[in-house]
Amino acid sequence: MSTFIKDFIERETISRRNFLFATAAGLGVAAVPGVFGRGTAAAALTDPAIAWSYRDRASAYWNSVIAGGEAFVESLGRPKSALVSLINEGSTEKSLSDIKAFLAKNNGNCAIACDANDSPNARPVVEAVQAAGAYISTIWNKTDDLHPWDFGDNYVSHMTWSDEKPAEETARILFEAMGGEGGVVHLGGIAANNPAVERLAGLQNALKDFPNIELLDAQPADWDTQKGAALMASFLTRYGDRIKGVHCANDNIAYGVIEALRAEGIEDMPIVAYDGNPEAVQMVMDGQLLATVFTNPHWGGGISAALAYHAAIGTFKPSEEPKEHREFYGPTILVTARDAAEFKAKYLDSVPAYDWKDFWGPSNGQIQYKA
């Protein structure tokens, strides 16, 4: 065997051994907090890498979430690019594998904010993060039996939004504009989506107080403008003049409804929407919409990253926080004609400078599970 090959094999063997040692040492470090248990300085991370794992950049909603995340990393004196985007494109498998790759690349020195894409995926994601000794905050998707406090400090928090109450409030505004009587149609989101279910439930709650309002029909328009327009046109054929008001599950559907009505020359139909997108807020100001609901995705995106980051560097210790700081509802702001201009100036024209250490200020109470 030539010396070159012998040297090469020797060198590779040594470097592989070093690698194994290094890996073992790394695992040891990760295990240290577990060994010493509660009370020790578990948050041993310095300068963790920060990532946001989410669906895509094709919607105003996620863009706003990520803008919030970027505002947070800039508040740390880092460039926007310090926030790594892990885009899952609606694939649960990609969501999990991207997070695992990110953990491996940074040896677990990570603070991650994440929407797990679907509820069952939250558990493997959180388990992978805990195994690597990293920190994670989640929003929207998780199963009801998965709780941050079951994972020590590593699963920092979960935030979601309860849409039932705000959707009920928009329904009440709609019914009052209709004079408390007549038929109403609901154009919903994708039927199995939780927000779609809650927004319809909100409408049904409000109906109990308005006996002269009849819910003519409620069908899914899949959050989509064109589907909303086509469905509204079909509703017009079926119910005609009996429709006196329209309750939409989101702003995009409402845009389609307005256009379907415009095609028929109907200009003054009372319509309410949801999401508080800039275009919808403008329509509220112009009187085309009665109300929409803003969930402040910018704040949600920033604060989720901030919670994971500050737990990681030890600013606070999640396991010592009360449960309402581990699982909580995000903010919802009702936007109506009365306050739309003020709202636009405050939240849309210039983004407010948030205090990213005020973790729970704008939040909305502990998450309640239905039995």
Partner: protein, 321 residues
């Protein structure tokens, strides 16, 4: 002999018979379905989809497939909205220039699509799907995920101004349907589509430049996708990176339901028209008769299978892939 002729005739007209049967069926369950107002509503929803379907019909007649429509429609819609705003945002001013520019853009995207397919020898299925993704990506890049509004009253006249009960956009779609029919029956290109689809080897051996026909076909389809994009913007007053979403399913389903054979050489723009109408009549009719929403997807699927079974001559086909 006469028996065989009648069977062929029947199959040729089967999609139209399916359409008429559906109209009678929905009207029987809810008479308001059969009204001018409702037909106008169906036509508004069908007009953009018809343009996409005509575009892809040319490709399917050639025996290829084009899956780039979603990306192309999104990108051309967003480009149209931006260029239109840039040129003053009004049809009365220079805004109209955006229309030919976007048609050219659609043609260029299709041309690129065809060149990738033919020159790199990538199956049309894969090449066009990839180009579609590129188009959607470019649309996201342009908009940053935001919605671009087009509010010009003159342009929106395509939706709001009616003539004999139908909005102008329906007449625009009808005009381009005739353009598609003219290309199909009265031009060499149109006949070459059928030559390539009916037997590519034979066409090649007869001296036909198959490569050129294919690339031209994809470019032509791109122009029709751009027309669809403009009609969508006219219909909903906005463009965004998801404007083209759903058009792949709707257009290909329509074309096949209308009796265009996926193996090439059979069918044409009239089949595309009937197919688009069948799909849109089903969509509208299911809501109008009050079918529960959880049944609608299933029923749509079953009706599509039924329509294809009735409208294709499967005795002529030795294998299905």
């Amino acid at each position: 002999m006469t028996r065989r002729l009648s069977r062929e005739t029947l199959i040729k007209w089967a999609p139209l018979l399916v359409l008429i049967a559906l109209v009678i069926f929905f009207t029987a369950l809810n008479p308001t379905f059969f009204s001018l107002r409702n037909f106008a509503r169906i036509a508004i929803a069908a007009a953009p989809a018809l343009m996409v379907a005509i575009g892809v019909t040319f490709i399917i007649v050639m025996g290829s497939i084009d899956l780039s429509m979603e990306g192309t429609v999104s990108l051309t819609a967003v480009s149209f909205a931006f260029i239109f705003a840039q040129l003053g945002g009004s049809l009365a001013g220079f805004g109209w220039i955006a229309i030919p520019l976007v048609l050219v853009l659609g043609g260029l995207i299709g041309l690129l699509n065809g060149l990738v397919h033919v020159k790199l020898k990538i199956p049309s299925f894969m090449a066009s799907l990839a180009m579609g993704f590129v188009g959607t990506g470019a649309a996201i890049l342009l908009t940053g995920g935001d919605i671009v509004k087009v509010g010009d009253a003159a342009f929106r006249g395509l939706l709001t101004v009616r003539w004999l009960g139908f909005p102008l956009m329906v007449y625009v779609a009808a005009f381009f349907l005739f353009v598609g029919w003219f290309i199909q029956t009265h031009t060499t290109l149109g006949r070459n589509f059928y030559a390539v689809g009916g037997g590519e080897d034979l066409a090649h051996a007869s001296g036909l430049n198959v490569t050129r026909v294919r690339v031209t076909g994809f470019a032509l389809a791109g122009v029709f996708y751009a027309i669809a994009a403009i009609l969508v913007v006219a219909r909903i007053g906005q463009a965004e990176s998801v404007t083209g979403a759903n058009f792949m399913f709707v257009s290909i389903t329509s074309v096949v339901v209308g009796g265009v054979a996926l193996w090439g050489g059979i069918g044409g723009v009239w089949n595309a028209l009937v197919g688009v109408l069948i799909v849109n009549v089903i969509d509208n009719g299911m809501v109008v008769i009050g079918l529960p929403d959880f049944l609608q997807d299933g029923v749509l699927g079953l009706l599509v299978i039924l329509a294809v079974v009735l409208s294709t001559d499967r005795k002529m086909v030795s294998f299905v892939k």
